[in-house]
């Protein structure tokens, strides 16, 4: 004798656009995350515009001031290295490289992952099985090996480093978006779109991808620090960005070898890298809390 009394009363449906706005409002209330946004913006601006205010670049050697110490009121506020290159400018220029690779890498890897995952999740069946099998095999490779082999394959240097990082980091977003797309594909509005004669590609682009936005934002924000970390890690090992071009990774490597005599060569790039990673992690946490308030 089923006599459920709920059905006669219709529940109001939420509008997705306003949800997104609500989530960003919730994010703005998170002080730590907002402070991180401001600090990160400041660092990014400093890295890209700071060097303009100095009459030399990071590769110019100042032979009158070799190994100059920290003196905030001199022309070399954080001193120079053994070649007379200004340390501050080098760290800022290194930041340009690291940050560009970080954001661009996350964008490209995220983009590939989203499209791949959305397609696999929506189409399903045998194609999905094959696509995910491939991801699984790639996942099986040790990350370090994959990056090193790939950067070997692409010939070394900055471009190959970038390719290697993207190639290894698109997997996680693909898996996450696929799971999302899979559940979306079962939903009524997708069925309706299909019944209405919409093609698969358009459904993926117009319905699946937009509905994965919040997942993508949350995991995308985690991807940026991961890419930056990979870059500096490989450059630290001497596989990535190579001297004389600076990046935080190879600057830290130089700093490590000079550690016993001069700590600032290590602390300046290391500290800046750590600060950026802190900020990005706090932002990612803030986004996750704002988008998924249950997960606390």
């Amino acid at each position: 004798m089923p006599s459920d009394i709920s059905p006669p009363f219709a529940a109001p449906t939420a509008e997705p656009a306003s949800t997104l706005r609500l989530q960003f409002r919730r994010f703005r209330k998170n002080r730590l995350a907002m402070a991180s946004v401001y600090l990160l913006t400041l660092i990014v601006l400093m890295c890209f515009f700071g060097p303009m205010f100095f009459p030399f670049t990071g590769e110019d050697a100042d032979f009158d001031n070799i190994g100059a110490p920290v003196n905030l009121f001199s022309i070399h506020p954080f001193g120079t290295d053994d070649y007379g290159r200004d340390l501050f400018i080098r760290v800022l220029e290194g930041g340009q490289v690291s940050l560009t690779i970080g954001f661009l890498g996350a964008l490209v890897a995220g983009g590939i992952g989203v499209l791949y995952g959305a397609a696999a999740g929506y189409v399903g069946g045998r194609l999905d099985g094959f696509m995910m099998r491939l991801v699984e095999v790639l996942y099986g490779f040790p990350y370090v090996i994959l990056v090193i082999l790939l950067s070997l394959l692409f010939g070394g240097g900055t471009v190959s480093l970038f390719a290697a990082i993207v190639f290894t980091l698109w997997l996680t977003p693909a898996v996450i978006v696929r799971a999302q797309a899979q559940s979306l594909a079962q939903r009524e509005f997708i069925q309706a779109a299909r019944a209405g004669g919409m093609t698969g590609g358009r459904i993926v682009l117009q319905h699946i991808v937009p509905n994965c936005v919040s997942v993508v934002i949350v995991y995308g924000s985690l991807l940026v620090p991961e890419v930056i970390l990979s870059e500096s890690f490989l450059s630290f090992l001497g596989i990535g960005v190579k001297e004389p071009q600076a990046s935080w990774g190879n600057l830290i490597q130089v700093g490590t070898s000079a550690m016993s005599t001069d700590l600032r060569l290590l602390l300046l790039p290391g500290g800046l890298l750590a600060t950026v990673l802190f900020c990005l992690n706090f932002i990612a946490d803030g986004l996750r809390d704002a988008f998924d308030p249950n997960d606390r």
Partner: protein, 306 residues
């Protein structure tokens, strides 16, 4: 359960075969050979060397030779360290990498799980705060920054521990192990905390509480197992990652492990050594993944029939 393990092993073997093939051809496609940069060598010498390493044969034949040797666990001679075989180099370096990785994981697992559970039980309490701070530091500061800073402070400034190398007995291990453990403490404590909180909200835990069996029993008998499943799932791959990623810690602390060999080999295009270590790493990863799957299935009856 036996069928389950068998299936996993078969899948692992397939992945390993794919890895063998891929590695071999990547090595061949990569630009530059081990001796091509050395222009002082005359053509005949070059040809002799290539013949000695069978680089003059067709690729397919090389591949066949490679697989045949592999089946006899012979990874061939190193092209960079002339007097050593790849087996020798692995045998000399692997124990260090394994030992550091093992102890780092032991420390990380115990500390991480303890912090995570305490944090979840007393949310926003002191332990939770401490664990959160360690978590943020461990995740945000890479070990090639924290390692040198620790060296500068504990070794150079305080003089308690050696800066690097293996010459000081157990003291040599302390810094590398702790530095390597730190990021994993961070991940494991976070994972444990989240998973504990989620599990405490599970309906079956509510059922257990409704049975009036006492808080301690609810925690030990009903909450912990479910809460630790994701942690166990993380441990296997993480241990594999710590061993295969040992190059960083070995570079920072100047340890004679296998990771440094690997990067040097890659930079010097020492094909046999790169191949050998890649396969070794691949095997380690596969083995740990299988181990994790088996352990999870043992813990979770729902997975046994998968």
């Amino acid at each position: 359960m036996l069928r389950f393990i068998g299936k996993r092993l078969w899948n692992g073997a397939l992945t390993l075969a794919a890895l063998v093939t891929l590695t071999f051809f990547v090595m061949r496609l990569a630009p530059g050979g081990p001796f091509s940069r050395n222009r002082k060598i005359s053509k005949e010498v070059q040809a002799n060397i290539e013949a000695a390493f069978h680089l003059d044969e067709p690729v397919i034949q090389q591949f066949g030779r490679f697989v045949w040797r592999l089946l006899h666990f012979d990874l061939g001679p190193s092209t960079r360290f002339r007097d050593y075989s790849v087996n020798d180099l692995i045998a000399s370096g692997l124990p260090y990498s394994l030992t550091i990785g093992f102890w780092a994981m032991v420390v990380a697992t115990f500390v991480g799980i303890a912090l995570g559970i305490l944090g979840a039980l007393r949310r926003n309490g002191m332990t939770d705060y401490v664990a959160g701070t360690i978590g943020v530091i461990g995740i945000a500061i890479p070990i090639f920054v924290i390692g040198p800073v620790a060296q500068a402070y504990f070794a150079l400034h305080l003089g308690w521990l050696p800066v690097g190398g293996m010459g000081a007995g157990w003291k040599s291990w302390v810094l590398p192990v702790l530095v390597l453990a730190l990021p994993n403490i961070a991940y494991i404590s976070r994972l444990t905390r989240t998973s504990m909180i989620e599990t405490m909200r599970e309906n079956y835990v509510r059922t257990a509480r409704a049975k009036g069996i006492g808080g301690r029993r609810v925690l030990l008998k009903h909450t912990l197992k479910g809460a630790l499943l994701p942690v166990v799932a993380y441990l296997g791959p993480a241990t594999a990652a710590i061993i295969t990623g040992s190059v960083l810690i070995e570079t920072v602390f100047a340890l004679p492990g296998i990771g440094r060999h690997f990067v040097d080999a890659a930079l010097n295009r020492d094909y046999p050594l790169v191949t050998g270590i890649t396969l070794l790493y691949g095997g380690i990863v596969i083995l740990f993944n299988i181990g994790t799957d088996v352990l999870r299935a043992w813990m979770d009856p729902r997975l046994r029939h998968a």
